[in-house]
Point group: C2
Chain length 666, copies 2
């Protein structure tokens, strides 16, 4: 199948022009979009898709397919054109509805919307790093099932990708891990949105990538033979990742706008479109696909179908030869989690009090034992996050059997690689660092949420109570800031039982990321009650129920502050109050509960207090205009944690005093 | 002054050991800290500070001083030791209170706390990038006042700094701009917190930096002569930034823990401390500074004082020779803003309706005309953010007179460089990109807030109403997420008048960053009233006052949704309601108003509705448990903006209907 023979130059030109005008026509119809990339990169993409890419449009999820990523997602119409011509389930009508409500052709590709789109891209640098994660996952899958897979990860990357920090981080990791299955084609057009790239960029890109352990070579991005030769050289080796710098002309074919930033981000317009049609010998009819082009791509699709069928046969034989691997394979392929994971984890909760990072670590080990899909790593803080999987080696170049990844001091790439691993399939990746460094990963977390990826982000050292390291390391706003991202589950468990609920939820969630927010410091033991783990899994529950009548106040708390709430309740109840304590380990899951449950936990008309060692803004919506929200709304300070607790009024006695004063209207 | 002659080897060793044991003793006393770096880098820091660094401890803000940055802020005790020995206002008692409440020696250096600390560091990569911003600012200052300045920017950088993406971005810019005044010493100790760097990093660092336009050379980081020679080579040229890879042994001198990750982040402990004292011939007394060491540093400080005095003379002569520059110099030195800036901007508000990005652009031009300190740039989106300063060239290598910076597609470095420029002095820098990419800059924004830096971040395309580009580019959570960072002012102006208030506040604020959140789409004209600009400057104000009695409902809104609120008020008032509309361009400033003003704007007991095209979480705290918060709590979609407004219920008629239903209790 690879490389397929070249089409005649005439047919190749016809295919390229079809791709170009599908893009031009769709962008003109939408009166919105980016024609520069589809015109400039149609040649290199055509050669790749028609001769090298191993895929079967009839089965976009075939495990042994090559992955193709369009990192500069603004060039989406190139990808949609390729998918349509290749025979993916993306009819011409969808191309005509480019960038319209409800279409499968949004402005930037979205993996959960469009068959054949492997990754959601747009924010530059992310796709570059996602591809590294995919290639890493492919190496790890191949190590687990040797001889079963033979695919590669290809990406088209852009100027923006080589300038964004996350791409440098990812490239450094790809070279370090010698990901020879990774082949990137750099659309080196020297033009960015605002002008010439030389206004802001003058690196020797070949040397830069070589210094990071890559192969790198330059090629004319419009010369099909040269491109094919470069692709062939890349797949002929498995020693290093490859960067092919394809020198292209942005907007190639547009007579007056090509090679100019004017063609980057706006439709060509009527007159330039007409001029481009004339220059390339294309008729006036829009959305045209010549029969010869259809036939050419159909033949290629047939080869893909044959390749897939052959692989299915190979797969069956492989399992005949390796019966002992079938169960693991299926568990990983389907990312299976035990049905009773929560119960199993609840049974594994350590008896001793500890920091939630320690308690969660024990439970993570249990998840790892039950789920071969779980792999992960940290940004050089594993000793502090306590997340490395025990009894499993570290992944290294050439040794991909381990489950522990060493991301280095590269939080952003860690997040983006984890997304790529989740997109690849087979793995449920986790990451780990201090909560304050979630800021470095935020673009990746957002894309995990938008793309509905099963990724677990472990964040320890979750408040001012990490103490002496001071305000640069003390989270104040981060828990709330993560809660604001749609489709993210943010857990801040208070003890071992809640850690079990958190890990059970995180490990089984398949439609979005989960954040596990954990303490550095020890937490108090909480009062036990029947079914508490299951109630914790609802996101919020009554931890301490008032006695002797309706509650006079409800104290809401999370994580390390739940113990303070319990302490305050005890003291105030002794004074005659009827205090309810509601633990809120995961706001998002509580909001998803039926109204009746929520009203039962939080009865209307009862005064409310919240306690969380962080910003109070979100809690003001819980406690109401006449409620009391206790927290930390300013930056912390470098001092031992007990001193900070005293200064910031977050001791049990201080909370008691503040709630008492609140109830008295003081 | 530079280079000063070398001390005798014996005296040099005594100085180095003093630095080492001040660190060891302080970390042991705190029982917390990072001894590895101070021990490993004491040699290279001593040679730099005692022979090359141009500074006067008696005047930490002398404009022509060299800047020194400790990018790996966890090695803070090395810096505190250097500051103390050099004679900065940092008594030994402060070193004894390392990492304690209220001390000037927090766990990581904080610029606003400690004399001589040039930058707050800790989150890795930031200091590296801040230094590039300082060197850029120095070049720009030198271009404006040729012959006046002769200083450089030095930094100690670490493994983490060379692995973080923001440092690559910043290094690329430094090389591109040929910042020959930048000299970085890389503490190349091959050990990170979790183990050997070779577990995660195998770049050829010399080649990498050379590919980005740097000079790079390797040196033995414990060989004083070799270090001095490398420093001398670096300052002998001004063509390229320099990276000196100083091979060091982490924890140098600790017999059993050196060259191991065990010495990175924990105190040595009693026995290893004793063994280190023995190995280095140091007595048992703690916090010792030998007289010879004091005298040596005092002599160096005297040289610094002489240099400063000479520069002051030079400065006076320079102004005699360039009287026409004195006014500009003072305006920049003191970052002067006109007292009546708000009034001047209000007078400049364009009459036509436009997007707030367009309105703000006009006002920014006015600020630029009034304040020579204002400089800035964008991440390759200037055509869209409309922020380039007119009639001023772009800054390029060798041409630093311009006010427009081309940061390239490097949002994170843009933020960090802006922080460095603000720290340098003379400049009030602004940055610009789309709001969704604020995620890439978040670590820098947080440090600007913590460090109380006058930086302006312009973010356009502020909601789902950017339309077709789709959810990767549509902000939903970002406005609220920025509001959560302490000490950040987030402005989302609704029209030209509010843009004037926003820019006036941003340009005059000196104790923290300001975010200007602006629309891509046109906004409605708002009803005018006397003194509206001054009221907008209070952060929130009554835009439409109810008539005929107390209000039946208050609608709170920001930015592009204020027009919807006004429309809904009009419709509902026609139905007999008494609707008040409160515009809230800046929550933080409203919270800072006196209670009486806040109660007047938001009277108690009146039902409340909020409208903002983004997450509603924060607004629930404004409207209360029985209020109504309208917004967008999910990811957006790719479609024309008017279609999204319809689908998401954010048209005037939809808002009217929802408020009406709310008032009727439906």
């Amino acid at each position: 199948m690879i490389p397929a023979p070249a089409a005649s130059p005439e047919l190749a030109r016809l295919c390229v022009n079809t791709l170009k005008f599908l893009a031009v026509d769709a962008i003109e119809a939408a009166n919105s979009g980016h024609p520069g990339l589809p015109l400039g990169a149609a040649d290199l993409a055509y050669v790749l898709w028609s001769r090298f890419l191993r895929h079967d449009p009839a089965d976009p999820h075939w495990p042994d397919r090559d992955r193709f990523l369009l990192s500069p997602g603004h060039g989406s119409m190139l990808l949609y054109g390729l998918l349509h011509l290749s025979g993916y389930d993306l009819p011409l009508d969808e191309l005509k509805r480019f960038r319209q409500w409800g279409s499968k052709t949004p402005g930037h590709p979205e993996v959960h919307l469009t068959p054949g789109v492997e990754v959601t891209t747009g924010p530059l640098g992310q796709g570059f790093a996602n591809g590294v994660g995919m290639a890493l996952a492919a190496k790890m899958a191949a190590a687990r099932f040797p001889g079963l897979f033979a695919h590669r990860v290809w990406a088209l990357v852009s100027d923006g990708d080589v300038m964004e920090g996350v791409a440098y981080e990812a490239a450094s990791l790809a070279g370090h891990l010698k990901l020879g299955n990774l082949i990137y084609v750099y659309d080196d057009n020297r033009i960015t949105l605002d002008g010439g790239i030389d206004e802001a960029f003058s690196e020797d890109v070949v040397t830069r990538f070589e210094s990071a352990g890559w192969r790198a070579e330059r090629v004319d991005g419009h010369d099909h033979d040269a491109l094919a030769a470069a692709y062939a050289r890349a797949i002929a080796q498995d020693e290093k990742p490859t960067l092919i710098l394809a020198r292209t002309i942005i907007g190639h074919g547009a007579p007056s706008k090509s090679n100019s930033h004017k063609v980057h981000g706006e439709p060509l317009g009527t007159s330039e479109t007409a001029a481009t049609r004339k220059a390339l010998g294309w008729g006036d009819e829009t959305f045209v696909v010549p029969d010869a082009v259809r036939a050419h791509f159909a033949a290629r699709a047939a080869e893909g179908a044959t390749a897939r069928a052959a692989w299915r046969t190979h797969e069956a034989r492989w399992f005949d030869a390796h019966p002992e691997r079938v169960e693991t394979y299926r568990a990983m392929r389907d990312r299976v989690a035990p049905q009773d994971l929560l119960q199993q984890l609840l049974a594994a909760v350590p008896a001793a009090t500890d920091a939630t990072r320690g308690l969660a670590s024990v439970l993570e080990q249990r998840v790892a034992a039950l789920m071969p899909s779980l792999v992960g790593g940290d940004a050089d803080l594993g000793g502090s996050t306590k997340t490395p999987i025990k009894d499993s080696p570290k992944v290294r170049a050439g040794e991909f059997l381990g489950r522990n990844l060493r991301f280095g001091i590269r939080e952003h790439a860690m997040g983006s690689l984890a997304n790529g691993m989740a997109l690849y399939g087979m793995f449920v990746p986790f990451t780990a660092t201090f909560l304050t460094f979630s800021d470095y990963m935020r673009p990746a977390i957002r894309l995990a949420a938008l793309s509905q990826l099963p990724v677990v982000h472990v964040f320890t050292h979750d408040s001012v109570f990490l103490g002496e390291d001071g305000p640069t390391h003390q989270s104040v706003e981060h828990v709330s800031a993560l809660r604001l991202i749609p489709n993210v589950h943010v857990w801040r468990p208070a003890d071992g039982v809640e850690c079990a609920a958190a890990w059970a939820s995180a490990a089984t969630r398949r439609d979005g990321p989960t954040e596990l927010i954990l303490t550095r410091q020890k937490v108090d033991a909480l009062p036990e009650s029947e079914g508490r783990g299951e109630r914790a899994a609802k996101g919020a529950y009554v931890l301490v129920r008032e006695e002797g009548g309706a509650p006079t106040v409800v104290i809401l708390a999370t994580g390390s502050e739940v113990g303070l709430a319990v302490g305050a309740a005890k003291a105030l109840n002794a004074e005659g109050e009827r205090v309810r304590v509601v633990s809120v380990p995961c706001m998002e899951l509580f909001f998803a509960q039926p109204r009746a449950y929520r009203d039962e936990v939080l009865p209307a008309g009862v005064r409310r207090v919240s306690v969380e060692a962080g910003r109070t803004d979100l809690w003001r919506g819980w406690v109401g205009l006449d409620g009391l929200a206790l927290g930390v709304d300013h930056f912390g300070a470098s001092a031992p944690a007990p001193v900070l607790a005293e200064k910031y009024g977050l001791t049990a006695s201080a909370v008691t005093a503040r709630v008492r004063a609140f109830l008295r209207g003081e």
